[in-house]
Amino acid sequence: MTFDLLIGLLSVALLTATPVLMAMLGETLTQRAGIINLGVEGQMLVGAAAGFAATHSSGNPWLGLLVGAAAGLMLSTVHALLCLQLGVNQIASGLALMFLGNGLSSYYGTPLVGQQIDGFTNMAQGSLAQLPLIGHFLAQLTPTVYLGFVLVVLCGIFLYRTQWGLIWRAAGESADALHMLGRHPGLIRLVAILIGGAFSGLAGAALSVDYTRTWVEQMTAGRGLLAVGLVIVARWNPWLVLPVALIFGLSEALSLRLQSTGADISPYLLGTLPYVVPLIVLLLSYRASQRGTAMPQELAGVFRGMA
């Protein structure tokens, strides 16, 4: 019984956390190159709408994920243009992007509301479900959950185990030093913004094409903004993105589970769990760490109004 309970919690947590995890990974990559993009929410929304539209017309959810990522990337070019080319403040540009994505997706997404897609094949009917003990659990998960795991590994290896990862991080720590080495921090930041946009778009598409199989305006409900905040909790480390996203997911799963057991606690109070718990983790990790916040040094410039 306890085993079933844990398995249930974990599968709800993973399913809920996956879009947030993907958005966090993208924003981690962007910020490691020295750029803050608060427009993740908007990028997720255009990704969710475009991905849903593509799946609806083609019947292919994989194409939907791809189109969603492309839509997020396209919206992020606005941030790249404003910040890198025109020198607009990154915070302002990101917020503008968030509202732009919200408006664009609501407008173009209107005909998609109430449409139905099949999404990915239900794995509960596959051979995976036949495995002993964990078969039921594995079958609850969906392809985007597994894709999320793969992306964590790819991002972790890229940032810490490749030369390009080193250069990428250098763009976030000291653009001047990188420049003196004959590299172009501006170019890396451009790529970082676009990749971040693609990850957010993919995150949105995972939400609409796979998890909820529905599109409705503002369906991200603040999860994009949350992802930006959780990047700090994960200390800008793609390996830590997985546990932090899972903490968020588990808190949400637990808040719903406690409700369903009839606990006499206000659902509104329980609903704050997914936000309070990561905050506590942030506080604890900040206090425990010798190395401060682990924030990429170039980001400090954004807050001094230099970027």
């Binding site: 079933d4 309970l5 249930g8 599968s11 709800v12 399913l15 809920t16 879009p19 609501s106 209107t110 005909p111 509301v113 109430g114 449409q115 139905q116 239900n122 509960a124 609850q140 939400l207 998890y211 909820t212 199989r213 529905t214 409705v216 305006e217 503002q218 369906m219 991200t220 409900a221 999860r223 949400e252 799963a253 719903l256 589970r257 409700q259 369903s260 057991t261 009839g262 606990a263 006499d264 606690i265 206000s266 659902p267 509104y268 109070l269 609903g271």
Partner: protein, 356 residues
Amino acid sequence: MKHRILSVAAALGLASTIMLQPAYADIGVGYVYVGAKTDGGYNQAQDAGRLEMQKAIPGAKTNALENIPENAQVSQAMQRMISTGDKVIFATSYGYLPYALDLAKQNPKVVFMHCGGAKLAPNLGTYFADMFEAMYLSGIAAGKAATNGKIGFVAAHPIPQILQDINAIELGAQSVNPKATVTVVYTGSWNDPSKDVAAVNTLADQGVQVIGVHVDSPIAVIGAAQKRGIKVIGYHFDDMKFDPQGWLTGGYWDWGPIMTQVVKEVEAGTWKSQPVFGNLKSGAAKLAPFGPSVDAATRTQIMDKKKAIEDGKLNVWSGPIYSQDGKLLVPAGSTLPRPQVDSMDFFVKGVIGSLK
């Protein structure tokens, strides 16, 4: 000669019926929705009413705005409608009320209709309907379908309307399945499909076999229930097409007749500010069609109860009703007074969930 008299009489009769038919001039009618009018839920039900009204009154020129949030934006939207000459405005979302009241004061010649049954002003009326009757009947289908007695409910907020729905489902289910329980999970939002799905999965993990829902659009809940092989009770709109196999029945709004009546009265100058409340009998809150898994015996049983409710022989809130913790709320032989139905703040015995 006889024929001639007849034909003259017929012609006169025809003429008089033409003349008696009031000639409706064009009347502008504005509709504001908080979501998309195709949401398979609350907003689509309102829009279905608009389409029905338009059909009944060909002179009505309707003007519908979607995705208008419950803030100052709705004032702007309604102001735009007034400036283009709309004479009736349906403010269909509950949170539009303060903005509609404000504009009603400034525009005494425009009639505002607010959905929710909350407040009246000289030129602001309100309309709503008792959905709990259809939920009671759906509860019977749920009680039969849930062999283990476990029913789940995904709710937006613990407000009286939603508590009515949950209690009605539990009472309906109990009437055929004494061990039936309804487990409630709140999402805290009218529109958060991700949380809707998480709520369904959580309830499914608890062994729930039927799920009810009251959020703006039930589509995400229906899809998630389908994936888990759970039966559903619909809400707001007839969404059977989203999962015919899992669909039991449900409740949906038919606002057309109320909207038609209001617009006709405004046209004729006879409209008065008063609450318009519908129910199963008036047809404003209807029982949805049955899904294929509901057997003939259950259908007959539900239709008999439906008739009893319509004939006033069965009151959903007739005693004995016990509260969640076992206290007797309504003794046998009496019914819960209407004001206490409207301000419902309790769960009946068998409901698992919090009221806070």
